[in-house]
């Protein structure tokens, strides 16, 4: 907090200083231009000089000084443009020489040097043959400013305004304008300016009280761009050949960098070299550059330098233009050796730095040597070993090291877009291990996500094994897994990914497909209660789907046996959901679904399988489901399923239906008994067995069951409920009657109607009573509407 306040007051103060200075600059610039307009050149220079004196300030920090500098330079550009214009017209050589001479008399050095440079530029433009000499003059004279901040900006101005004037003719060839200099002159000019600027910059570190070190370092970091401009200029020279770069320019830069022994300067300049020069130059000087890296100060973060270089060259080499470079230079070997050497020599290197070095190497391997899996694999192995040596484990994925580790693991996944290829990196999983449980799961999850996004088909046991090797932590309980891991959203999301993965199993052959599903089932089956609840059901569905696709034997003599095996496998899997998964509803549904699927396939033992499925569903109902509402809906499901199957022989069908009826009559509430029995009655009407042609339409059985329900309804103590049940029964009776069940006599119906009508009158008025009555009225209306079809009944009812 304290520090922040100080900074704020500082910036308020800085703004104020700047404002005052800018005001003077504007006013003097205005006077300068007015004088120029009146052709009073000397007056103009006087005003320029006063304006420039503002740059002598010692009050501004680099960023504010830069703003002032820009305003001043904008004005100097006007001055230069004007002078050039005028002197061009005058066409007198002496004038410019005189002017150049004149400005050297300005009072203080800052205005003097800026004016000399400005006028010097005009001079060079007018007389190109003077270029080399003037450049040399200016760079030498600038030595007069030894204050780091002011000196750096002055020399930056020199670099900026001479940009288009720097001689760039090939060496050894006479330039177009005799005497205008060659690239040689420019190299010398910049080398000198560069070394002077670097000295100023380094010296800044050692000025002022030691307690301001941090501030000073921050300011130095801000100023670095000025020093870097020298390297930019060199890189822009057209005739700076690779040979000259190799033999002279780079060695002299490196010598400057190494000998200054200043970590800030070293780290920045090395990175700057990497950024500004062409890739071809870097490739030609790799060894020299890397050798210098070793000579840098201990405090330098060499990994930044190395990573910048690797990243830059990876990009270059991976583009087609540079592809033959890959064979010529052993980039990967060179860089991995460098990285390893660096890690060994700096025992205090932070884990995240170790990892990020490997990230750069993996990128290089994957992007430039995609076909050489061994390269990428070596990096993961080395990463795993390095982390093991450091004895790090349980890395949090949100820590610096963890983020970096996740990043490196992503590289081949994102780059290959083929998880099966990633799996070929056999040491890759080892690099996941230092992460903690959540981190490993996250890594596995993005691998699965990639598999799904790219629809990578899994076609063999090897494929499945490969994927599983990358998602180990999602498949079963882990030693470092928190107790409540299964409660998290991530856990659920990850299981969904596994479920989606199952849909990617696409073997060419149906037998293999089953083999794969069955194999994966075994693996997933070991996942424990929380996992199997989500992972096994999609396996079961996939098996059903496969079985349905397997409807024809296609001449396969083992077809019957194979289909049966599929269902046995599904049945066993559902069993695991009950015993290990502690589930009830879903297994019951799955059994019933199995029965319906098996019923559709005409394999020899389908009746037995269907029977087995349904009776297992009934046992779940009997043994596992206690809640009466759940029982009710479960029983409805079973009944519906039995209605849908037609392959059971009546000797098997009967006991199943018997069980349903028994279960119905054991329902806790009378109302539930009545309803389930009524549905069971429909089994004898609409149901089918193997022997029957079409529906059973067994009227005797139907009425027997309906009668039984009526008896139960009559026992109901609650008048409202009882009335409700009788209205329901009336509807049921009439339904079968209408559907042609001749066993139901008009007498029964008439009796039911009068019973419900009487009861309706006796009910206490209430909303429920109204509702029931309305239901009854609807029913009666329906009977009246259909009376023409049933004259006997109409007569009996007198309607």
């Amino acid at each position: 907090m304290e520090a922040m306040r100080i900074d704020d007051t500082n910036s308020v103060e800085q703004e104020k200083f700047l404002e005052t200075a800018v005001k003077t600059v504007k006013a003097e610039a205005f006077e300068m231009k007015r004088s120029l307009d009146k052709s009073k050149r000397m007056d103009a220079l006087k005003h320029a000089s006063i304006m420039l004196a503002e740059l002598r300030t010692g009050l501004l920090t680099p960023k504010y000084y830069y703003r002032l500098y820009i305003d001043v330079v904008n004005e100097l550009n006007h001055l230069e443009s004007f002078l050039l214009d005028e002197l061009e017209k005058e066409k007198k050589e002496e004038s410019i020489a005189e002017l150049y001479e004149h400005v050297q008399y300005a009072g203080t050095i800052i205005p003097r040097m800026y004016l000399m440079i400005t006028v010097g530029v005009v001079y060079m433009k007018l007389m190109p043959q003077m270029r080399a000499e003037l450049l040399n003059d200016l760079v030498e004279m600038s030595r007069g400013v030894q204050h780091p901040l002011r000196g750096l900006f002055l020399r930056h101005y020199l670099l900026q305004v001479t940009k288009s004037l720097l001689p760039d003719a090939a060496e050894g060839v006479e330039p177009a304008i005799p005497g205008s200099g060659t690239v040689r002159d420019t190299i010398d000019f910049i080398k000198l300016n560069f070394s002077e600027m670097n000295k100023l910059w380094v010296r800044q570190q050692h000025q002022g009280p030691s307690k301001e070190r941090e501030k000073r370092e921050r300011e130095r970091m801000e100023l670095r761009i000025l020093v870097g401009t020298n390297l930019v200029r060199l890189s822009q020279l057209e005739h700076l050949t690779q040979e000259v770069y190799e033999k002279e320019v780079l060695p002299s830069i490196l010598e400057q960098v190494v000998s200054c022994r200043d970590p800030i300067s070293q780290e920045y300049l090395m990175e700057c070299v990497i950024q500004v020069f062409a890739d071809e130059f870097h490739l030609a000087t790799l060894n020299e550059f890397l050798a210098s890296c070793k000579e840098l100060a201990q405090e330098v973060h060499i990994k930044n330098v190395l990573i910048a270089l690797i990243d830059r060259l990876s990009l270059y080499v991976s583009n087609a233009v540079g592809s033959n470079i890959r064979e010529e230079i052993q980039l990967f070997e060179i860089f991995s050796a460098q990285a390893e050497g660096l890690i060994q020599s700096r025992s205090d290197m932070p884990i995240e730095d170790i990892v990020s070095l490997h990230t750069a190497l993996v990128s290089l391997a994957v992007k430039c040597y995609g076909e050489k899996l061994a390269y990428a694999n070596t990096v993961f192995l080395s990463l795993a070993n390095n982390l093991k040596d450091k004895q790090v484990e349980g890395i949090d994925m949100y820590s610096h090291a963890g983020k970096e580790l996740i990043r490196v693991l992503r590289v081949p996944v994102d780059e290959y877009k083929d998880v099966l290829r990633v799996a070929l990196l056999t040491d890759y999983p080892r690099a996941m291990l230092p992460l903690n449980y959540r981190g490993r799961c996250t890594a596995s999850a993005f691998i699965l996500q990639n598999l799904i996004d790219n629809e990578t088909g899994l076609k063999s046991t090897d494929d499945i094994d490969a994927v599983c090797s990358l998602i180990e932590c999602l498949l079963s309980d882990q030693p470092d897994q928190p107790e409540d891991a299964h409660d998290s959203e991530e856990f659920a999301d990850e299981l969904n990914l596994i479920a989606s993965m199952i849909h990617l199993i696409k073997a060419e052959d149906r037998d293999v497909q089953f083999l794969l599903l069955n194999g994966l089932r075994k693996r997933l089956g070991a996942g424990g209660k929380w996992r199997i609840r989500k992972t096994l059901p999609p396996i079961i569905f996939s098996i059903y789907e496969l079985a349905l696709n397997y409807q024809q034997s296609d001449g396969d003599e083992n077809w019957d046996m194979k289909v049966r095996k599929m269902f046995v496998c599904a049945m066993g899997t559902i069993g695991a959901l009950i015993t290990t998964g502690e589930m009830t509803q879903l297994p019951l549904n799955l059994y019933l679904e199995g029965a319906i699927v098996a019923n559709r396939i005409k394999f020899s033992e389908n009746a037995m399988v269907v029977y087995e499925f349904i009776s297992k569903a009934l046992s779940v109902l009997e043994d596992e489901i206690a809640d009466s509402r759940e029982r009710l809906s479960a029983l409805a499901l079973v009944t519906n399923s039995v209605l849908k199957v037609d392959c059971l022989a009546s000797e098997n069908w009967e006991p199943l239906v018997g069980q349903i009826i028994l279960a119905g009559s054991k329902m806790f509430k009378k109302a539930d008994q009545v309803r389930t029995l009524c549905s069971a009655a429909s089994l004898y009407w609409k149901g089918k067995v193997a022997e029957s042609e079409g529906e059973l339409r067994n009227g005797n059985k139907v009425t027997e069951i309906l009668k039984k329900s009526a008896k139960v309804a009559a026992q109901c103590m609650e008048p409202l409920v009882q009335q409700q049940l009788f209205v329901h029964l009336l509807n049921q009776y009439y339904y079968f009657y209408e559907d042609g069940c001749t066993v139901i006599s008009p007498d029964v119906l008439s009796e039911l109607i009068s019973r419900t009508r009487d009861a309706a009158i006796q009910l206490e008025p209430s909303r429920e009573a109204d509702d029931i009555d309305q239901h009854l009225q609807h029913t009666l209306q329906h009977i009246r509407n259909t009376k023409d079809k049933y004259p006997e009944l109409a007569e009996k009812l007198q309607i």
Binding site: P62, I109, I225
Partner: protein, 211 residues
């Protein structure tokens, strides 16, 4: 501050856009008529000048090329100050570079803080049209964006094949010049309020030295 006697106008133009869209290449193509496939990162800001004639008026264009990455602008972006026109550039094969245009424009307006920002001249260049087959941003989309920003002029160019570069920069110069003349008309009596106190020149500045 009439532009009468001083015939030659000096115009400051800033090129902004993501790194890699071809700002440096465009400037080099326009000023030096050269193109290179070689990639060299731009660090900091740098300008090139070029003299052009706009309707009988000789104009020096000072074109500032910039680094698209913040870490290469350690001193901030004060060089936006005093710009007469801002050229926004994107790469037609890279939709991210198009999406970032808004933030470049906003940053320019905040940092350069020009008078009358609604009418400050911008020009949009869609570069790398030689790679049109890989186009990721349609003409229509770019034009719609330009319309939504007060009808910014739009040019589709290729630094590599010198396609449209010349005419785009002509338009840039014209817009910048219009802005500059507008400026001179707006403030005919500019100097009075800041007429100098003669003592101010000699004021001793804390920490300053006579070096």
């Amino acid at each position: 501050m009439s532009s009468g006697p001083r015939k030659k106008a000096l115009l400051k133009v800033i090129i902004l856009g993501d790194s890699g869209v071809g700002k440096t290449s465009l400037m080099n193509q326009y000023v030096n008529k050269r193109f290179s496939n070689q990639y060299k990162a731009t660090i900091g800001a740098d300008f090139l000048t070029k003299d052009v004639m706009i309707d009988d008026r000789l104009v020096t264009m000072q074109i500032w090329d910039t680094a698209g990455q913040e870490r290469f602008q350690s001193l901030g972006v004060a060089f936006y100050r005093g710009a007469d026109c801002c050229v926004l550039a994107y790469d037609v094969t890279n939709s991210t570079s198009f999406k970032n245009l808004d933030s470049w424009r906003d940053e320019f307006l905040i940092q350069a803080n020009p008078r009358d920002p609604d009418h400050f001249p911008f020009v949009l260049l869609g570069n790398k049209m030689d790679l049109e087959q890989n186009r990721a941003v349609s003409s229509k989309r770019a034009q719609t964006w330009c319309q939504s920003k007060n009808n910014i002029p739009y040019f589709e160019v290729s630094a590599k094949e010198a396609l449209n570069v010349e005419s785009a920069f002509q338009a840039i110069a014209r817009d910048a010049l219009a802005r500059e003349s507008q400026d001179s008309q707006d403030f005919p009596d500019f100097p009075d309020q800041i007429r100098l106190d003669p003592n101010q020149n000699n004021r001793q500045q804390g920490g300053g030295c006579n070096c």
